[in-house]
């Protein structure tokens, strides 16, 4: 049904989006690469000039870099593991016949709609606070010493907070996938004497694989950029214990005013994200056809 005329009309309709997205990628990326090769201090804009790869070596060799890359990967992987595993378990729980499935879904999905600074501050102050947070109160109640979560285990605490934000998303998607599973297949397996664990392993899990792929892809896109939670809880600390790559770049650019080094960091972040992206796109391309 596509005629020559409708094809060119279609091209016309698509082109604004493509052009805008192309510019949105190309201009900032080009500028970032340009700045990354320049000496560019925001406080002394006149002292500029080509410095080759010196910004890169400064950024990559800076004491915080290795840790920041590791922290970023630990954060992303940690949250993915927690949300997918718990998401599967909770989806299995809610999928069984229960009273009030609607309200339960509403309660479970709610944290997803909370803006990151709010959830981070609620957890930081009202739960993690070692002097009067609820966890400290609970510890006192059972006679244990309160634990300083954000001070002693900053990255784990942030993984906890971010997992709380994303668990609803994973649960809801996995639940939806589970609900589309043909009940008769499970019944047949049950009658043939398949124990619950192998019903899960051989029927439910394969059925959910597509949904799991989607959860991993979409969460990774958002998790690589986690920022607000770190800013309001630990500010990257103590020391650099919870500094991720985005946070390190933010520090260079807006706190140390070193645009050149921050730009080099940006290029490094783009390269790392693309390595992750290539793997993911391959996986999702296979799973979504």
């Amino acid at each position: 049904m596509a005629t020559q005329a409708s094809r060119s009309a279609a091209r016309l309709m698509i082109s604004p989006t493509v052009i805008l997205l192309f510019l949105w990628m190309a201009i900032p990326l080009g500028t970032t690469i340009y700045y990354s090769l320049q000496r560019y201090q925001l406080l002394y804009p006149d002292r500029s000039g080509f410095v080759g790869l010196r910004n890169y070596t400064r950024f990559v060799l800076s004491p915080g870099f290795g840790g920041a890359v590791a922290n970023t990967l630990i954060l992303v992987l940690g949250v993915l593991i927690v949300t997918v595993v718990l998401g599967i378990l909770i989806a299995l729980l809610i999928d069984r016949p229960i009273w009030g499935q609607g309200p339960v879904r509403i309660l479970v999905i709610s944290p997803f709609f909370i803006m990151p600074p709010v959830s981070a501050l609620i957890w930081k102050n009202m739960f993690f606070n070692p002097s009067n947070g609820l966890f400290a109160e609970a510890a006192k109640y059972v006679g244990m010493a309160p634990y300083d979560f954000l001070g002693q285990a900053p990255l784990a605490s942030i993984i906890f907070i971010v997992s709380w934000e994303w668990l609803p998303f994973a649960t809801l998607i996995l639940l939806t996938a589970l609900q589309s599973l043909d009940g008769e297949q499970l019944e047949a397996a049950e009658m043939d004497g398949a124990p619950p664990l192998s019903r899960f392993w051989y029927i439910m899990l394969p059925h959910m694989s597509r949904a799991i792929t989607v959860v991993v892809l979409i969460q990774t896109i958002f998790l690589l950029g986690v920022f607000g939670e770190i800013l309001v809880t630990t500010n990257g600390g103590p020391g650099t214990a919870s500094t991720t790559l985005p946070f390190l770049i933010y520090k260079e650019a807006l706190l140390d005013f070193d645009a050149g080094t921050a730009a080099a960091g940006g290029v490094v972040a783009v390269i790392l994200a693309n390595i992750v992206a290539i793997f993911l796109m391959k996986a999702i391309g296979k799973n979504l056809d």
Partner: protein, 276 residues
């Protein structure tokens, strides 16, 4: 599932599911309760759950002293503005891709999604400096544009998956009846597309409302939305739990209610139709 369960089994399942759901929801409930507590009750040890003199004082203080209104308005303008702008650009594109199949459609969609992989931190410096030289830092206009571009791939993808489900035969039937392109779009397709457009709109308003990289880094005061407002409560003001809670409740409730109503579409929308 058609399996038969005994009432006893169902009761146990129900209890377990509700316990898990309440644990997940508890921080929100606790924040809601705390927002009505006088400050000294909010930090009381041991904690008080409901047996206190409920007060609106925290809400009053947050609105009167912290200028909640202007932050709220900025959030509304930025999230709705960026989404509407994105829809205007994305609807024709998604439309064309859904109804005029080209060989490249899938590649094009994948490419659009891949632009989302570019970490915001990677382009913070040029965007910030560009905004600065154009005098656009701390303006709602700039945030609208940036968030629009950021969400554009998601908007296109979501619309595409909705549009694709509109049967193409109906177009041919309309054409046979002598409808031209304009009336085809206006009278045949638009009514069928409205549910998809509406849920795309809602979900992207939610995403834009909660976006907290650009909104925190590109604003100071004038254009600052609720994310910035809340971030201002990180220490030491955050230790006023009552006010922090009241501010949090006011920042999340409008969008959470929208979210509850659109949760059915959320799965389809955010998984680009891959999970239904």
């Amino acid at each position: 599932m058609a399996r038969v369960v005994t009432p006893a089994q169902k009761s146990i399942n129900t209890a377990a599911a509700w316990v898990v759901a309440l644990i997940i929801f508890f921080p929100i409930l606790w924040t809601f309760l705390t927002s009505f507590k006088p400050e000294e009750v909010a930090v009381a040890s041991p904690p008080v759950f409901v047996g206190f003199d409920w007060t609106m004082q925290n809400y009053h203080d947050v609105i009167a002293q912290r200028g909640y209104g202007s932050y709220f308005w900025n959030s509304v303008v930025i999230s709705v503005g960026s989404t509407v702008l994105g829809m205007i650009i994305a609807i024709p594109a998604a439309w064309a891709m859904a109804f005029v199949h080209g060989k490249r459609t899938k590649d094009l969609l994948m490419w659009m999604l891949s632009t989302k992989m570019m970490p915001a931190a990677g382009v913070l410096v040029p965007i910030y400096l560009m905004g600065k030289s154009l005098g656009l830092i701390d303006t709602r206009f700039m945030l609208m544009i940036v968030l629009m571009l950021m969400n554009l791939p998601i908007i296109v993808w979501m619309l595409y998956t909705y549009f694709r489900e509109i049967p193409g035969d109906i177009l041919e039937a309309a054409r046979m009846d002598g409808a031209n392109l304009m009336s085809e779009i206006l009278y045949v397709l638009t009514p069928m597309a409205i549910p998809g457009i509406a849920s795309t709109l809602l979900l992207n308003v939610i995403l834009a409302w909660n976006e907290s990289f650009w909104t925190l880094n590109l604003t100071t005061f004038q254009a600052a939305p609720l994310t910035k407002f809340i971030a201002g409560f990180s220490s030491p003001q955050g230790l006023f739990y009552g006010k922090l809670s009241a501010a949090s409740v006011m920042a999340i409730v409008p969008i959470m209610v929208i979210g509850w109503f659109s949760q059915k579409q959320l799965v389809r929308g955010l998984t680009f139709g891959a999970v239904k």
